[in-house]
Symmetry: C2
Subunit: 348 residues, 2 copies
Amino acid sequence: MKIITVIGAGQMASALSFPAIENGNKVRLVGTPLDRSVIDSVKTIGFHPTLKRQLPKTGIECYQIEEVNKALEGADVVICGVSSFGVDWFAENILPIIPENIPILSITKGMIDLEDGSMITYPQYFESKLPANKKLSINAIGGPCTSYELADKDHSVVAFCGHDIEILRMLKSLFESPYYHISLSTDVVGVECAVALKNAYALGVSLAIGLAIGPDGLGHEHYNSQAGLFGQSVKEMKHLLEIVGGGDENIILSAGDLYVTVFGGRTRKVGTLLGQGFSIEESIKRLEGVTLESIVIATRTARGVRALAKRGVVKLSDFPLLIHVDNIINAGATAVDIPWSSFESEKI
Amino acid sequence: MKIITVIGAGQMASALSFPAIENGNKVRLVGTPLDRSVIDSVKTIGFHPTLKRQLPKTGIECYQIEEVNKALEGADVVICGVSSFGVDWFAENILPIIPENIPILSITKGMIDLEDGSMITYPQYFESKLPANKKLSINAIGGPCTSYELADKDHSVVAFCGHDIEILRMLKSLFESPYYHISLSTDVVGVECAVALKNAYALGVSLAIGLAIGPDGLGHEHYNSQAGLFGQSVKEMKHLLEIVGGGDENIILSAGDLYVTVFGGRTRKVGTLLGQGFSIEESIKRLEGVTLESIVIATRTARGVRALAKRGVVKLSDFPLLIHVDNIINAGATAVDIPWSSFESEKI
């Protein structure tokens, strides 16, 4: 039995309580300042209002953020359960109070672009934010897994990544279950880059859905065009993985994660609306309240690639889909002008 | 204007008449002995009964098989439009009568396993069947494209492959259109292997659909499990591409083609029925009349991999999904026993 302190009571972090508790562990669920009502609900009736599921009846203790120190006392592992919008809060408020011997497992997916165009992962970002002389083992979860289906115990195949394989094996032992299958990798950059990119590209693939169903939403979905964009996405993600120095085998994660995001994720909704011809402002308005990480990630990735192109490290023409998505989001381009012919290649 | 003689009036071959005729070419559609009623229908009312579309009103001439020599007279290109079940008929009856100066473009996807476990493409197979001293330029089409959507002029991104880039460029000029986008590759083995494999793996991914909706078909689809199988498929296809010596970039085609086959193809129906718990015999019975190439390809690929494993060239444990699919089809295994934990890996 281990004590797992989860900081951030969002959907995915909370869904992890199912395999954790089934394995005989104790979960301490700590809300961020934005999670007060979630914690109140779980505490009183056991119901998670955004995950829309009853959490396990036993094995969970709930804490508001003021009680975070108590929740960390004697903890064996800390889960960083914030979205990409909460990472700075986590870095400033939580990292300093986690004891050095407690490993962190982060569910936040994404990359951050630096000014020179290089992109770093959240584990790298967290490491850069540690107080002087402080060391923490920062690990992360990647791979195709939506929180609802994890809570419903549907089979999921994910990857835990970090620098120390022994710590990864320990973390795996806490969560591995008959429905939650975990690969391990010390290629943190490869895994995190692979899973971050799929958000941007899921938006790109979903454009074809919106284009097919049309502004009134009454048309039929077509799959040739989705598959064309899916293939182009894999091509560009493969190239981006090379650029950041991630192992080529991580394209397996990218492809699986792209698949689940196009079908089960929120990004699909953004891309579909844009494909239907709504502006980015109108699309965001229609999705009020929905986390829009894909927009942030697409913008960041494109900014990174543009900066690298300026330095001559990459050719912008190798990323026509990413640039098109970025132009829709940030420069008023219309979805229908997908640069199809630039996806063509000649291999001699 | 070129004359394109299409032999085999199946759905995909017939759908190609749309971009071909839009580019100002003439199409001569020749039915195989199995296509008599198709040819009669197109000839009299212009309607293709299995594609379920009106073919272009002008530019198509129809021929029954007895008129094949007339249809070949003055032709610039021959399309081989038979399914994998028709390749031997095509090799025996048509290859010998095609003049050497006319290039062939084949739409048949698939690989054939030889006794030693090595797999060859249909272009290679056709070349091996040519009469002594006869030479033909045999090219092929790969990539994600369903015939219905091509006929509806939805955007599709495909690849033409062959040994001679100049011939490929000429072929591209006949079919390239605002909705039919064509990459070219001289890596015939890579392209053909990539697109053949996806049939077997689309069956594997679809198992998760059947498992989720259940025997009565009333359950909801889950995407985590589909994505887990999709990622594993990409992993195994990538490895198989290495084995046959195909370029690694062809995984882009495999992934895109896998995507469209899971969503728009017939293979989905087979995998779903098997996933629902029906035996292979019962599943085939329920799909009466539907081409079941995926079953043939999965069986062949697995047979090839098993032969290679016997020779020590590969490890069978690297292909747990393919072997599971093969065991369901050929050894009475049940779909529910998906070897999830064997998909896990450790990368240090």
